[in-house]
């Protein structure tokens, strides 16, 4: 999998502005739509209303109804239309209001978007982004609160992004739109109103690079999406007790930045994996298995065998 280069040289400080996470996503959409006329956005209530969480607010005014389209409530129809549009040269960004509705669209994601390239012997590209949001904590009950990243992570052919901060949300969405593969972009409903400094103008973060959100020597906390917020809080509390936790935000689950995880654990020798999803068969288990396979000391391996 290719990783797109970051545009800015290391060390150079970009101009930033404080933005909400939702605003930062909208900023990425706006800039990518200005840059590439083949980018269009569609989904339920995303035009005048700006989407259930306000991400697409204002885009209709700038880009008009050809490029910002409301759709009927037809999840498989619209996701499939995005697949067809992507196969034929556009770069659609399709919004599903809740990840819990993905079940209705899953065939187009799993059997079509993800597999076209392989099964057509490389003849096809499916450059589409499926944006949606998940997570609990807003009292929305079980049909509007799930964390379903493991469903998508299990499917070969998809990339999977789950940003935790406004700056990451912007940089990763821009890269997702430019990527030639179907990218599942999972936002968190309780991050939309969080604020952070976001680079102004073009901001690209490569898919497949984790970010050390806090340095530490005693423990590595591997996490993603909203759990990053809690992990940082926990790390502050631990610091008061003299324990320095490193907080590693995966940002992209597929492709996975194994090297950053392994490097951190080789340093701290302790790992804690935290995610919001159901534990059984969750993506966290994948991280634990990676650690067991690749980060155990040789001595530990010999003992175990």
């Amino acid at each position: 999998m290719s990783v797109q280069p970051a545009v800015r040289a290391e060390g150079e400080k970009p101009a930033t502005r404080e933005m909400f996470y939702a605003e930062a996503l909208g900023d990425a959409l706006r800039l990518e739509m200005r840059r590439d006329p083949n980018v269009l956005v569609f989904g339920e209530d995303i035009a005048q209303h700006g989407g259930a969480f306000g991400v697409t607010k204002g885009l209709l005014d700038e880009f008009g109804p050809k490029r910002i389209r409301n759709t009927p409530i037809s999840e498989i129809g619209i996701v499939g239309a995005a697949v067809g549009a992507a196969l034929t040269g556009l770069r659609p960004v399709v919004e599903l209001m809740y990840v819990d509705f993905a079940g209705l669209a899953m065939d187009q994601v799993v059997n079509q978007a993800a597999q076209n390239r392989f099964m057509f012997g490389g003849q096809a590209r499916v450059p589409m982004v499926l944006r949606t949001q998940g997570g609990s904590g807003r009292g929305n009950a079980a049909q509007h609160s799930k964390s379903l990243e493991a469903w998508f992570a299990h499917v070969a052919g998809l990339k999977l992004v789950m940003p935790a901060t406004p700056a990451d949300a912007k940089g990763l969405l821009a890269s997702a739109i430019r990527d030639d593969n179907p990218v599942i972009f999972l936002e968190h409903k309780l991050l939309y109103r969080t604020k952070g400094d976001v680079p102004v103008g073009e901001h690209l973060l490569p898919l497949g690079t984790a970010d050390v959100k806090r340095q530490g020597r005693d423990l590595t906390i591997v996490t993603w999406s909203r759990e990053v917020v809690f992990a940082l809080e926990a790390a502050d509390n631990l610091a008061a007790e003299g324990i320095e936790a490193e907080v590693l935000d995966l940002r992209t689950l597929v492709p996975l930045d194994k090297e950053t995880i392994l490097a951190s654990i080789r340093k701290t020798h302790r790992a804690l994996v935290v995610h919001e999803a159901i534990k059984r068969a969750g993506y966290g288990a994948e991280i634990v298995s990676l650690i067991v396979e690749e980060a155990f000391d040789r001595a530990a391996k010999e003992l175990a065998s």
Binding site: G80, G84, L87, T88, G122, Q123, A124
Partner: protein
Amino acid sequence: MSALDRATALELYRVMRTIRQFEARAVQLFGENKIWGTIHSYAGQEGVAVGVCAHLRDDDWITSTHRGHGHCIAKGADVGRMFAELLGRETGYCRGRGGSMHIADTSKGNLGANGIVGGGIPIATGAALTATYTGSDRVAVSFFGDGGANQGTLHESMNLAAIWKLPVLFVCENNQYAETNPVKDAFAVEDISLRAAGYGMPGVRVNGQDVRETYRVAADAVARARSGLGPTFIVAETYRYEGHYYGDPQVYRTKDEIEDWRAKRDPLVIARTWLTTDRLASEADLARVDREVDAEIEKGVAFAEAGEPASPIRLPEDVYAG
């Protein structure tokens, strides 16, 4: 509609005959254990794909089904590369990765057969969105069966295409069965095309066994789509001669029924009859076309058999675009 000219008429026959021979040869190769996976024969339904695709340009798109060889040939595919795909060769359309049920030929706008019943319908709708979005007069056609017509994808896509006035033809090939399930057990109406009214688009029921009829109906629908007037729903009544798949015991229908369709409603026999009675072709012309088609098919099989077996899959680059 004006009468078919000689060249067009003979070409329609040639393509139908190519499909028929392709399927005959594919069944033979399957019997020789040379084909991986499974095959679904299009024999008997040739009038549908050929009458519709005759109006399409190379830059128009189709989506096809598990029973996709006919659509693929009608859209201009090379039979050698198709056989190579069936035989799992590197020289096949999908480098042997897809096989019969997944042949795609994007250079001719064929966005693929599909192993998922109804799976291609929204994809054709999305291609039609590209056509309008880019301001072109390209069109998309989605072929699907009577079984596919009962997938939710058709409902969602017909509605989306109608409200967005997308240049797409929804072509239902009612071959009377979905696997073993007869249409009378799957629809409460006899005329499936009635559904179109509920979406605000024209619905046409056509005799799929007479290529002149499918050609005429598709001409109108394609012209409508190209001029920005939106989608059309076409239901072609047709019949498949072979079992659902190679080796199907076919307990759900009688030999008499199959013989009746073959004897009275065969698309090739019907075409030969009007071609000669309307003096568009002589028996000698037809015999020449048949010989040319047979030669093309044999050349295709030879090409396929000479191809290298599919190379080992490379990961991740065969799955992910770089």
